[in-house]
Amino acid sequence: MAKRIEASNVSSYYGNFKAIDSVSMVVEPKTITALIGPSGCGKSTFLRSINRMHEVLPNARIEGSLTIDEQNIYDPDVDVTAVRRLIGMVFQRPNPFPTMSIYENVVAGLKLNGVKKKSLLDDAAEQSLKSANLWNEVKDRLSRPGAGLSGGQQQRLCIARTIAVEPQVVLMDEPCSALDPISTLAIEDLMFKLKDRFTIIIVTHNMQQAARVSDKTGFFSIDKTGDPGRLIEYDDTQKIFSNPTEKKTEDYITGRFG
């Protein structure tokens, strides 16, 4: 099910401002890829380009091509919603739908895409919540508001919601930055579990996290404010953190790591 992603010369713009400059990388199926780099270097922008969430903002556009199993998702005849169904996304801040219960939040993607049968929805909700390590905590209060959970639980609820529609790729934009260490650990465990089924790309500021969870790591950087972000180095995580090829990568990693 998981898919191979190939970006070639992707450049993203906000109006006239170039946010990232010709990024090329290949992400293999069923791997975890971490994107690291200083703030404002374009890693989130690149992540949002992968499921065409970048273009939600006014005047945002993209150059280059992004293919998922040989299909260019930026072809003019591609249906954006279909792409997003294929490539799920977890955001930095947990964003459960405030008018929906925990149950409704989990099945929102299925229900709003036309699944009506109650028994199917019930099964999917249970499976997704179990996969997200949340089932035991919420099984007795599925009809309570999703926004009433703690931050870490909300984030796992959002992950459950994302995997309920069974995407093939899961993008995570700093999913643990608002969470405490225990919730972070829970989500990292979860990522290892999900790796068997999904391709995962995660943006993170936490380099220990990148080193812990990822198979491959991409380092983004900018020369100075106002310049577009570039992919400086992309390699096996082990190599990036032990013996990076680029001087910049080494500086960034050692500067915060030691």
Binding site: N51, M53, N95, P98, T99, L112, V165
Partner: protein
């Protein structure tokens, strides 16, 4: 010694000022009574005013006295805090007073005619010497006119606001937003004149053998013109408050934009949207001028909003208040009370309904 300690000694916590005496409640109360007595004595002693001036002077003396006395006991900062707090409470009471006064006047003067006759009969064949007569026809008129206007204005207004927030980009949206702003300022009499010249004089003759005709529907049209900008603006503000990440969360699940709006954005903003709509409904229910111009205001019961003149409660109040009959003012008060009650009931019902849909019960 820090800069703060040197320059503003009383805001810094020191062993000396961390504990301070509190103004005793009894002293506070005594101060209030004393100030009131002095105020009254001044007002009546010099016969410069009645009890109103006495109370006003009393409040002023109380604030000054509080500052002085509390300053002695509690220190300057605490006294200033106490004075401002008292001032804010006083302002709050002052703001509520007119409202309470209106409600009290309405109830005390309007209760007299709260009888079956008032709610069961019209003003048909009621002369100046008849104590009977009621507002049945006016209640029917108000409910029909405001109801039809709401049915027209709410879908248009909410959809327009959704367009402006979710889809509107570029020149066209800016233009629409500008005209909505301009429309907000339209005086109701102008809306009435517009419907009079357009609907009553030009369109209605087509349906009525060439003769122009008043109708409740014409009043609904005028009220729609008045309600639309209010609904668009308030709905727009509420939709803008829905956080962007919520929309993106739905998009990321592969939910199409229209479904995201219907199932996520609008439900999130619903309580606020309903409040805005109810404000518009309340405003429309209270409008007199456009109804006078295009519905005429009949004395008899007319259930058909599309043919013939119709009464409305606000217009009924206006007519009865200016009527020469000595029974008319009582009818006007009761009609005003009825109007307020109807708007109140509608508002409460709408709020309850909006709340039941969300999970915040």
């Amino acid at each position: 010694m820090s800069l703060l300690e040197r320059e503003s000694a009383d805001v810094v916590m020191t062993p000396d000022n961390i504990r301070s005496q509190k103004l005793h409640v009894g002293l506070n109360l005594g101060l209030a009574v004393g100030a009131l007595v002095i105020g009254m004595a001044l007002a009546y002693g010099f016969s410069i005013g009645n009890y109103v001036l006495g109370v006003v002077l009393g409040v002023v003396f109380y604030l000054v006295g509080l500052q002085v006395v509390a300053g002695r006991i509690e220190g300057r900062r605490a006294a200033r805090d106490r004075m401002w707090k008292t001032l804010i409470y006083a302002a709050c009471v002052l703001a509520i007073l007119p409202l309470a006064s209106v409600v009290w006047t309405l109830i005390s003067k309007g209760a007299g005619r709260l009888d079956g006759d008032f709610f069961g009969s019209s003003m048909n064949n009621i002369g100046a010497r008849d104590p009977e007569g009621g507002a049945y026809h006016a209640i029917i008129g108000t409910l029909e006119q405001v109801g039809i206007a709401t049915l027209m204005a709410v879908p248009l207004g909410v959809l327009g606001a959704i367009y402006l927030v979710e889809y509107g980009r570029g020149k066209f949206a800016t233009t629409v937003r500008f005209f909505v702003d301009v429309m907000t300022g339209i005086p109701s009499i102008v809306a009435g004149l517009f419907v009079l010249s357009f609907w009553v004089l030009i369109v209605s003759p087509w349906f009525n053998d060439g003769r122009p005709e008043f109708s409740g529907f014409a009043a609904s049209l005028a009220l729609t013109v008045l309600m639309l900008p209010t609904i668009v603006r308030s709905t727009e503000e509420m939709l803008r408050l829905v956080p962007g990440p919520l929309r993106e969360g739905a998009y990321a699940l592969g939910v199409p934009q229209w479904k995201t709006i219907v199932k996520v954005v609008v439900p999130t903003a619903l309580p606020g949207i309903v409040t805005g709509i109810m404000l518009a409904v309340a405003r429309a229910a209270g409008e007199t001028a456009p109804v006078l111009l295009v519905a005429g205001g009949a004395a008899a019961i007319n259930f058909d909003p599309f043919a013939g003149g119709q009464q409305s409660l606000s217009l009924f109040v206006y007519q009865q208040a200016g009527d020469a009959s000595r029974y008319a003012p009582a009818r006007a008060w009761t009609a005003a009370l009825t109007l307020v009650a109807i708007v109140l009931v509608l508002t409460v019902a709408a709020k309850l309904l909006a709340r039941r849909n969300s999970l915040s019960k």
